[in-house]
């Protein structure tokens, strides 16, 4: 009997949903917009975070050696650096590797490649890339490099200061987050209001049925459940709407975004990797908004 009632209530909820296609469509649309804005916020957050993290990883000190320095001459410096705790890792780029890297970077520029092959000798310098643990470690590293014994082989070294960029990015992320949360909350409130109104309308058109149900002893759950289901359905269809829209957007915009971010992040991969979680989250969020709306409408107009 419980099972039977569940099916009947589900049917009634579906009927409520399809009762007026355009109203349901518009309501679902607003809800989809809300879910969409929340997911976009999450994706933006991810992009920002990844960009930040990769910038923070890039606390690099590059040491350029004189052209004629051999790999064996570099070895002691490297070993020395590896022993101090401030250094996370070191990476040695030989002259040859530096050339290869340079060629790879400019492979789409035939002019550079051509002029490079004009040269008889490899013009690039061997480099040692040092990753520090934190920006404050720079002084410890530079004191090693300034050691007299290495003076002859080091041409120059520099410290890439990402601090300013990181700071700026942090501010931008915080701003986007603030705006995003504001927009999402606004949309959420609007969609709750719209859903509330739609469900109120359904209740109103069914007040005779509700009266009869009360009279013959339908339980409160049976009377209210179809409206709850109606609310959940708005969440359900809104999830489908927003996910499909997002998928299309991500698919076509990801290459541009990825290029813009210098391939530090892969938006499409992030979206696809987390698709299941995103959809579940959307469903839960959408259903929660729908249920909240119908509860308010039920409270107000069914007096249960």
């Amino acid at each position: 009997m419980l099972w039977l009632s569940a099916i009947r209530v589900l049917k009634m909820g579906l009927k409520n949903f399809w009762r007026n296609f355009w109203i349901s469509f518009a309501t679902t649309g607003i809800m989809a917009l809300t879910i969409f804005s929340v997911v976009v916020l999450i994706i933006l957050n991810f992009i920002g975070d990844s960009a930040l993290r990769s910038l923070e990883q890039k606390i690099d000190v590059s040491v350029y050696f004189k052209s004629d320095v051999s790999n064996e001459q570099v070895q002691p410096i490297r070993e020395h650096l590896d022993t101090i705790p401030e250094v996370k890792e070191t990476r040695y780029v030989t002259k040859k590797e530096a050339l290869e890297e340079f060629q790879r970077k400019h492979s789409d520029n035939p002019l550079i490649i051509a002029s490079l092959s004009e040269l008889e000798e490899n013009p690039l310098q061997p480099t040692l890339v040092i990753k520090a643990r934190s920006p404050e470690d720079f002084s410890a590293i530079s004191s090693v490099l300034k050691d007299d014994q290495y003076e002859g082989i080091i041409e120059k070294f520099n410290y890439e200061d990402n601090q300013i960029i990181i700071e700026k990015l942090n501010q931008t992320i915080a701003l986007i987050e603030k705006i995003g949360i504001g927009v999402s909350i606004t949309f959420a409130i609007i969609s709750v209001l719209v859903m509330f109104n739609t469900i109120r309308l359904t209740i109103y058109t069914q007040k005779d049925e509700i009266g009869v149900m009360r009279l013959v002893g339908a339980s409160n759950t049976f009377i209210t459940a179809p409206y709850i289901i109606e609310g959940v359905l708005y969440g359900f269809f809104a999830t489908i709407f927003s996910t499909v829209t997002l998928y299309i957007l991500v698919k076509y915009l990801a290459p541009a975004i990825n290029t813009f971010l210098e391939h530090q992040v892969d938006v499409y991969a992030f979206f696809m990797d987390h698709l299941f979680l995103i959809v579940i989250g959307e469903l839960v969020f959408g259903a929660a908004l729908g249920i909240a709306s119908s509860m308010i409408a039920i409270r107000k107009y069914l007096k249960i």
Binding site: D208, L215, V216, A218
Partner: protein
């Protein structure tokens, strides 16, 4: 020994603005009884019915219907109480966009009755009220009297222990009104307690059943085989 299915003790009902619709009403109705509540317009008949189905709460007093203490019933329990009674209101409350059969079936659907059971019961109750073959009609394709029969059928389809009817025969001519009464008598014979509120003199006199007379919210007469005397 039949038990009392309706038990009212010193019931008062005061609506807002100090309108006392009922005042110190005590009444016992035994199981399988047939009782008519009569009285002038405004004497409190509808108010009494509303109290009996738990739609209104009394201002003072005690109401026990079929074991349910309606003064202290939790609102979420009311549906379960309602399943043990059947009610017919003056305005029938039929759903216009549903057919006769659907209207009756609706009462069973919302109670979780299985489909086969519904298919069995609806024709049975339609024939009981004399509407066999009219199940596929819509309420607006029926006469007022026929609509009333549908309302009775819906109130009785779950075979309640108590059937309450308010102003059933209001706008019907005498012959038609009596046919409706015969349906209620049949239902009563099947073992259901029936309580009707009416001001139809000739019907009450012809019934030869218990008559309780209300005036200004109090019971002024209670006759076993009563007549409607005002």
């Amino acid at each position: 020994m039949p038990e009392s299915i309706i038990r009212l003790r010193d019931i008062s009902k005061v609506y807002e603005e100090d309108i006392a619709a009922l005042c110190d009403v005590s009444l016992d109705v035994m199981e399988k009884d047939f009782v008519s509540i009569v009285g002038r317009s405004g004497s409190g008949k509808t108010t009494l019915i509303k109290l009996l189905i738990g739609e209104e709460k009394p201002t003072a007093g005690e109401i026990v219907i079929n074991g349910w203490d309606l003064c202290n019933i939790k609102s979420r329990k009311i549906p379960y109480f309602r399943r043990e009674i059947g009610v017919v209101f003056q305005d029938f409350k039929l759903l216009q966009q549903k057919t006769v059969a659907e209207n009756i079936a609706f009462a069973l659907i919302v109670l979780g009755t299985p489909r086969q059971e519904i298919h069995k019961r609806v024709p049975g109750v339609l024939s009981l009220v004399g509407l066999s073959g009219k199940g596929t009609r819509f309420p607006n394709e029926l006469s007022g009297g026929e609509q009333q029969r549908v309302a009775i059928a819906r109130a009785f389809v779950h075979e309640p222990k108590l059937l309450l009817a308010d102003e059933l025969t209001g706008d019907l001519d005498a012959i038609y009104a009596w046919e409706i009464m015969e349906i209620l008598l049949k239902i009563n014979k099947m073992g259901t307690t029936v309580l009707i509120a009416t001001h139809d003199k000739s019907i009450v006199n012809r019934l030869q059943k218990r008559v309780v007379t209300l005036e200004d919210g109090t019971i002024i007469r209670d006759h076993k085989k009563g007549r409607y005397v005002i």
